[in-house]
Symmetry: C2
Amino acid sequence: MINEAQIEETLEGLFGNPDFASEPSGLYDPLRYMIGIGGKRVRPRLCLTAYSLFKDSLSDEILQPAAALEVFHSFTLIHDDIMDNSDMRRSRPTVWKKWNGNTAILSGDVMCIDSYRRIAKAPARVLPQVLELFTATAAQVCEGQQYDMDFEDRKEVPMGDYMKMIGLKTAVLLACSAKLGALIAGADERACDYLYKFGYCLGLAFQITDDYLDTFGDTSVFGKKIGGDIINNKKSWLLTRAMEKGGEMEKSGVITHGSGKAALQAAMAMKTDSETERKAKIAKVKGIYMDLGIDEDAKYEIIKQHAHAMDYAGMIGLPRVRYEMLHRYAERLLGRTK
Amino acid sequence: MINEAQIEETLEGLFGNPDFASEPSGLYDPLRYMIGIGGKRVRPRLCLTAYSLFKDSLSDEILQPAAALEVFHSFTLIHDDIMDNSDMRRSRPTVWKKWNGNTAILSGDVMCIDSYRRIAKAPARVLPQVLELFTATAAQVCEGQQYDMDFEDRKEVPMGDYMKMIGLKTAVLLACSAKLGALIAGADERACDYLYKFGYCLGLAFQITDDYLDTFGDTSVFGKKIGGDIINNKKSWLLTRAMEKGGEMEKSGVITHGSGKAALQAAMAMKTDSETERKAKIAKVKGIYMDLGIDEDAKYEIIKQHAHAMDYAGMIGLPRVRYEMLHRYAERLLGRTK
């Protein structure tokens, strides 16, 4: 049986010195940079884990498709950072900031194409299905980013729309990662579908965790400044839930001690020109969230989605030792909040 | 046998109402817009023409792969227009100008992905080869754009580097289009390779024609303002050749009547703030080109590459009536200069 240590070693092999072209260097250096600063390899690890449920060794057929998931994800980060005007990522300057906007556009493009070079190395017997899954997912990720940007211009976003957005922007790529591993391992359709749903629910939990940590996390663990979402009035899970809950409570006449929807809207309008003003705004919004119990709601939602994911994992009907690999994967992915 | 009228009809069918998704509209509307304003369908036409050399009807298997070439090309135009800061394309505002930069980035991304959705519909028996060809080509097109941008910061570009750049930026996609049609039609490797070379040489001729028309063309035919390359000191074929030839002539002591390399560099430094200044610069540089005979050199180079292309077409060993389809395709593609 494949174990987690072997998966780790494989990931290090894949991303320690990735085989991108070298010339022109202005085009390919940013690809190495992005893979170099990149993180936890969440998506290829899930793909290799799913593959391991059905196979006893990590054969070559899975390596490049698994790498494709990370390369694709990195491409979206390069372009998202331009669109979101983000200077820093994982404590390092973003590609557009380190080079320039044009480099970030074009290097992102070639990185997207490189992800297809890798996904195309899936075995010929499943290649059409693999491509269909990967391409549908890739388009959905773009749709999610579009909805996320569209939300910026909306005063309020219903929770259903928010969940749909993170479903597209984040969850489908984890779902695809899990299903891809199973597909290439030759698992049956039922197992593939349950793994897709497992990945999808985990992806939702993962994104809500990220939103939670942006406000309630610890900078040293989170890797970026706390409170960015509050400063930018970002339609995060917390804000979406707070608007919904604040509205409901006001409607039902529950006393909110100045922590209703109107208070939240006033806090969102606070100035953020100086560090003092920014700190005041973060403290104010965070206070409203805590009055409303949004932090606890978020934790509950994460646990709920995590539980859904494990329900789907259970439905696959795996031997205990294999099911536990999925259990440990999920614990590790979401462990950050604990 | 398939004739050109059928190919035209097929192209109209493919691009009259292309099957892009509709929601979110902020993401997909620009795709329809770009395909709507787009032009001569040079690449899918070449693909369908190459397919027609070996098949007697336009079966479904070739339609979406042929469309992928146009969709991919349109994607590169959307992103190139941001990078080149171009306001207009085919007498219409570019996507970033009509919408905004973020829309142009993200809609371009999903258009690139959409080209893969279509290329993935190639028959399973040739799918791995088709993907390898398409992906290698797509990366080369990005490399070409990178070299083109790199050239902006260089004082002078040797002709060899220029030809390599347009080889990547323009010629490989025509080469790929021709080979793809043959591959899917089941042609043998030799025929596929000759068609690749046919497309490559035509692509070089096509790009040099474009450079020629930018200075010596007729606005009403060319569809954009004449002299843009001169105003921007763009390292076009004409400028590259003029620098090379002017240098050689000065070195060999030939009298150049103020039309040597030094004169060219002085003209390149002319101001372009007002319409009068722009007209003066265009006239000056154009005058130097004509003194040096660069216009004739360009026409000769186009004819030479066209002839190379037809040599490769001849080597395939096609029946006369089929060879003539390639002949007519090339005539139509390059006919604009005549």
